[in-house]
C-alpha cells in the first residue's frame, strides 16, 4: 500500500479500518464509493479514488445535504449512547448532491444500512477538503450499523482486491475501444 511505503508504518486507516467498495452506483459509470469500516463497526462513507469528482481538472461548484424538500441530512441529530434520533438509512439512501463547475451532478449514497450519526459540514465551507483529502478530512458521512448487522452489511460490497479487479477491467475495456 502506497501510504505505508512512504511512512514505514501503518496509517490510522490501516490500523483501525477495513476498506470496502461499491462501484458504478445506480449504474452510473465509475461513481465509486469507499466505505471505511472501523473495527468497532462504525462506517465512514468516502469517495473512492476512481470517482469522477476526484479526477484531474474537476472543481466543485456546490454541495448540498438537502436531498429532498422534507429532508436535510444536516438536520440529523443523535442523542445518548444509543444515538437515538439518527435518520435510518438503507444502502441506496442519498447522502448529498455535489455539482461540479462543469455542470455535472453527482449523488453520494449511503452504501450501508444503519443510523446516520453525522455528515461532514466542513466540506460545505471548504469543498477542497473533499478533493484533496477524500479519505480523511473530506469524508461524507458517518453511519452506525445495527449491532446484529455489523457483519452482514459488507455482503453487498467489494473488497479492495475485488475493487482493483473491477478497475483494471475497466482500463482494459477502455484500451480495446
Amino acid at each position: 500500500m502506497e501510504d505505508t511505503e512512504i511512512r514505514g508504518a501503518p496509517s490510522v486507516i490501516d490500523r483501525y479500518f477495513t476498506k470496502w467498495y461499491k462501484t458504478d452506483l445506480k449504474g452510473k459509470p465509475c461513481e465509486d464509493h469507499c466505505v471505511l469500516q472501523h473495527s468497532n463497526r462504525i462506517c465512514v462513507i468516502t469517495l473512492a479514488e476512481t470517482h469522477p469528482l476526484l479526477q484531474k481538472g474537476k472543481a466543485i461548484k456546490s454541495i448540498s445535504y438537502q436531498i429532498s424538500s422534507a429532508c436535510s441530512r444536516l438536520e440529523n441529530k443523535v442523542s445518548g449512547k444509543s444515538k437515538r434520533g439518527g435518520q435510518f438509512l438503507t444502502e441506496l439512501a442519498p447522502l448529498c448532491r455535489i455539482t461540479s463547475t462543469d455542470g455535472e451532478e453527482f449523488t453520494i449514497f449511503s452504501c450501508v444500512r444503519g443510523r446516520l450519526l453525522e455528515v461532514n459540514a466542513d466540506i460545505l465551507t471548504r469543498p477542497n477538503l473533499l478533493l484533496e483529502k477524500p479519505s480523511t478530512e473530506g469524508y461524507i458521512a458517518i453511519i452506525l450499523p445495527k449491532f446484529e448487522e455489523s457483519k452482514s452489511i459488507t455482503e453487498g460490497l467489494l473488497t479492495r482486491t475485488e475493487y482493483e479487479d473491477v478497475v483494471s477491467k475497466r482500463a482494459a475495456m477502455k484500451d480495446l475501444l
Binding site: 490501516d14 483501525y16 443523535v78 444515538k83 469524508y139
Partner: protein, 558 residues
Amino acid sequence: MLPLKEKDRPIVRALLDAGCCARCILRFCCVSLQSAYRQNYEDLTCELQSFADTRETSISGDSAEKEQQDVPPCKKIRLDIEKGGDEDGKDVKESAEKTESNICVVCLGVLQHFCDKDFAKKIAETVMAEKYEFHSLVLSVSLPAQLSVREHSAWLLVKKEMREKTMCLGKDDVIQVKEAYKWILHSLVSQELGVPALAKSLFEVSVGFKHPETDGDCHFLAATCSGCFKPAKNKQSVFTRMAVVKALEKITEESFRRKFSCPPKRPTTLCALQEIQCLHVPVFVAGRYNKFSRTLPQTPWVIDGERRMESSVEELITAPLLSAFQAEGFNFSSSGREDVDVRTLGNGRPFAVELLNPHKAQFSTEEVHQLQETINKSSSKIRVRDLQIVTREAVGHMKEGEEEKTKSYCALIWTQRPIEENDIEFLNDIKDLNIAQKTPLRVLHRRPLAVRQRVIHTMSAQYRDSHHFCLQLRTQAGTYIKEFVHGDFGRTRPNLCDLMKTETDILELDVESVDVDWPPVIPEPESQKGRSSLPEHQHKDTPPSQEDIQCHPLGSLF
C-alpha cells in the same frame, strides 16, 4: 418479680387469652426492664399466669402482697410445641389451650424459642465456621413482614382494653419485637463468641426468619392500600417490610378489623430460621500504579466470552489483595485510565480497590508493604506504590482527579513532510491552546456524539530525525491525545496536522504523570532504600530513545 402494675392486669389477661407469649405480653405492657425479658421462659410464663389469675384485692396496690395472698398453684403450661397434641389429660383440661399450639400469635415463636443459650450457640457455631476476624459485632434481625400485621392486630386489642379502663398509652411505648429480642440475645451471643455485641461494628451477623404459613397475612393490605405496593424488579415479593408498615399506618381501624382477625389466628407451625449471614464492611486499599507494557489492558478484555488479551492491570493488582484479605469480590476504580498500548510512567496513576466482605481486615503498615512487594514481584508489567488502607470517603479524592486535574504525556510523532529542528520550536511557545474534539471514531460506538472543549496547557518538542520528533504535552483531564495528533478525520480542531501544516501520526504514547496528590505518599521503609526494583530505562521521565523507535513493534493496536 415482674414490674407489672394493677392496670396491666386486664391487658395481660386479654393477651393470654388471645394466645400471646409471655415476652410479647411484657412488650405490650411497655416493660422496659431488660432483665425481665432475659428471665427463663418457663419461669416467666408461670409468673405471668399467676399475675393474671390473681384476683384484685382492694386498696393496697402492692402486687407482691397480692401474690402472697392469692396465688393459686402455678399451672403447668405446656411449652413443648414440637411434640404438640395432648400428653396429660389433666393438664389438657386445665390449660386453656387444649390441642391448640402454644406458638405466640404475634411473634410466631421468635421470642419463645429463638433467644436461648442453645440458639446463641448455633449462631456462634455458624459464625466461627466462616472464619472471620472480628473484635465486635452487630446483630441484626429480619423478621417476616406479617409480624407487623399481627402486632397491629394485638395492639388494637390492647387499645380496646385501655379505652374501657380509660388508660392511654401510645403505640410507640410498646417495645418492638426486635428490640426485646436483641436485649436477650446480645449478651448470650457475646458470651459464646467472646466479643461485645454493639450498635455499630465492622462485622455484622444477620439472623433471618421465615414463616411461609402466614405469608398470606399481608395480602389483604394490597387491596386497601394499593399505592404502597409497587412491584420492583429486584424484590421477590411486593410485600416488603417497609411497604407493609406504611400500609398499616394508612389503614383505618375499621378496615383492618374487617379484613384481619383481632386477635390474630393461631399458627400451627413455628417460625423457622431462614439463614445466618455474616458480612464484614468493605476495606478500601489505594495506591498508584505504573504500567510498563504496551500489551496490557487496564481491565480484562473479553469479547463474546473470549478473552482477547492476557491479564490486566486490575487482575494483577487485585489477585494478591483478594487472597490476603480473603475477600469475596472487589470493585476496581482509578483516576482515569489509559489504552492498552500506552505506558503509565512517573509516579503512576491513583487507584482504589474496594474489597468486598473481607474475612481478614486488620493489616499493619508492614504487612501492607509486604503485599505491595508481592504485587510488584508477580509481574514486571506493572508496579504499585503507596499501597495503603484508606476510608471510603478518601476515595472521592481520586475521582475528583479524573475530571479536574491535569495530565502529562509524551508522544512519538511521525510527520509526512521532512522537518528540521527549528520547524518544531514554535510548539514550545504555545500556551493554553483551546481545542474542540468531537467524540473520537474509535469510541463513538459506545459514547454519545458530542463536542468536547479541551485545553492543551503546554507543549515541548524534541527533534529526532527528519520525520520524527517527541512531543511532551500537559493537558486538561479528558483530552484525547491520539486524536489531537492525527486529527481523527478533521474532527478534532485544531490538531497537530493543522499546526505543523503536514499530516502527522502518533507512533507511541506514554502517560508521564497524573497530577493528583492522592493517595498520600508512603515512604519506603529503611530496608528498602537504595534498592530499585526496576531496570533503569523504565524509570526515565525523558522521552523514548532512538532505539525505541526502531525496536518497538508498531502493531495494529494503535
